[in-house]
């Protein structure tokens, strides 16, 4: 991922921001700020997966400029907050690896379905590769979407009977309706 031109909010250079605040009201604001910062950051870097154990490698949680890091437990609690609004989900039991959805799965799914209807692709079969990596989707926001996330997005569409996933060992595709 490239660290190109991320506009950090003022809090990012504010040392207490990296420590969970004891005062409830302040803490609520702090968590809120972290939530939007995480989503913004992931959106800019097209980051779909955060491993909490390696979080200190990401500049987001580690501001070397002011020598501050966010504690892993705090990260998990903030990510859990994001989970409530459908913007994140842990993919393992110990809650170490998290998928981040800067658009919720529903938002993604309507985005993809819009793309499909605009191109008249209903009734045709697409591979997951061409949907996330193909030349036709280069300008779409879901370009280079992680396959696991893509599958989840398509599964939400599948519930609405708007598509059907074809997932076997060597076939990975989706048919839209």
């Amino acid at each position: 991922m490239s660290e190109t031109e991320i506009e950090w909010p003022w809090q990012y250079n504010f040392p207490p921001f990296f420590t969970l605040q004891p005062h409830a009201e302040t803490r609520a604001k702090q968590v809120q700020a972290w939530k939007s910062l995480i989503l913004d950051y992931c959106k800019k870097c097209k980051l779909y997966l955060i491993d909490v154990r390696e979080a200190s490698n990401i500049p987001l949680f580690n501001n070397s400029g002011i020598n501050r890091k966010l504690e892993q437990t705090v990260i998990v609690s903030i990510l859990s907050e994001l989970q409530k609004t459908g913007h994140a989900a842990p993919i393992d039991k110990p809650k170490n690896r998290w998928e981040i959805y800067w658009h919720t799965l529903e938002e993604w799914s309507s985005m993809i379905y819009d793309y499909v209807s605009n191109r008249g692709l209903q009734g045709s079969v697409l591979t997951l590769y061409e949907l996330s990596q193909g030349d036709d989707v280069k300008d779409e926001e879901f370009y280079e979407m992680q396959q696991e996330v893509l599958i989840k997005v398509l599964q939400t569409l599948e519930k609405d009977r708007k598509c059907e996933l074809i997932l076997s060992d060597d076939d990975q595709g989706v048919k839209f309706f």
């Binding site: 045709s124 079969v125 697409l126 591979t127 590769y129 061409e130 990596q133 193909g134 030349d135 599958i151 599964q155 059907e164 996933l165 074809i166 997932l167 060597d170 076939d171 990975q172 595709g173 048919k175 309706f177």
Partner: protein, 205 residues
């Protein structure tokens, strides 16, 4: 994915043709990935050859360029194969659409047949016959009910009708004829005036 698909799904709408298209498209994806890879090695090979030339290792640079050339040819070949795959998958998709069209025509045809079957020609003839009979009967009834008119009455009615028509007709020519012909031949106008009073007499009789 087994956990999510554990529950019974409604009948799959994915046909065998869809799967075939998917496989073709996956093959196409693989070719595209292959092309990307070759394009990358081409670029690095070129850089490497430049470096080797700078170092004075002309032979190795030449070898590298040969390899590059070969890979470029491979790239061309994969392009052709890609085209083949694309055409084939498009053909399958189009054939599916054609199938749908035929299916639609069939359904339309069936519907038309059903509607037509509901209309029986004999029935229509029978209905028309019955209507005609009913009309005749109706005429008969009304004849009976209002049939008080005798032959004389009929004639009287017709005469009255003729009179009304005549009364209306002469209005137009009478003024013109009177002005012009009264000077030239007064006899004719007199004959006309004599004729008019005769008619009401005939009516009264």
């Amino acid at each position: 994915m087994g956990i999510i698909f554990g529950k019974k799904k409604p009948i799959s709408r994915v046909t065998a043709q869809d799967k075939a298209v998917l496989q073709l498209k996956q093959q196409r994806d693989k070719l595209k990935q292959y092309q990307k890879r070759i394009a990358l090695t081409l670029a690095t090979d070129r850089e490497l050859a430049k470096k080797l030339l700078a170092k004075g290792q002309k032979d190795r640079a030449l070898l590298l360029l040969k390899k590059k050339r070969y890979q470029e040819q491979l790239l061309l070949k994969t392009d052709n194969q890609l085209e083949n795959l694309e055409t084939l998958s498009h053909d399958i998709e189009f054939a599916q659409i054609e199938l749908q069209v035929v299916e639609g025509l069939k359904q339309g045809n069936d519907a038309l047949k059903q509607v037509n079957a509901a209309i029986n020609i004999e029935d229509i003839e029978r209905i028309l016959d019955e209507t005609r009979e009913a009309k005749e009967k109706q005429d008969e009834i009304s004849d009976l009910l209002s049939g008080g008119l005798t032959q004389e009455d009929e004639e009287a009615v017709e005469d009255e009708l003729a009179e009304i028509i005549k009364e209306q007709m002469p209005n137009v020519p009478s003024t013109e004829v009177d002005v012009e012909e009264a000077e030239k031949s007064p006899h004719k106008t007199k004959e006309k005036t004599k004729q008019i009073p005769k008619e009401p007499v005939a009516l009264e009789a």
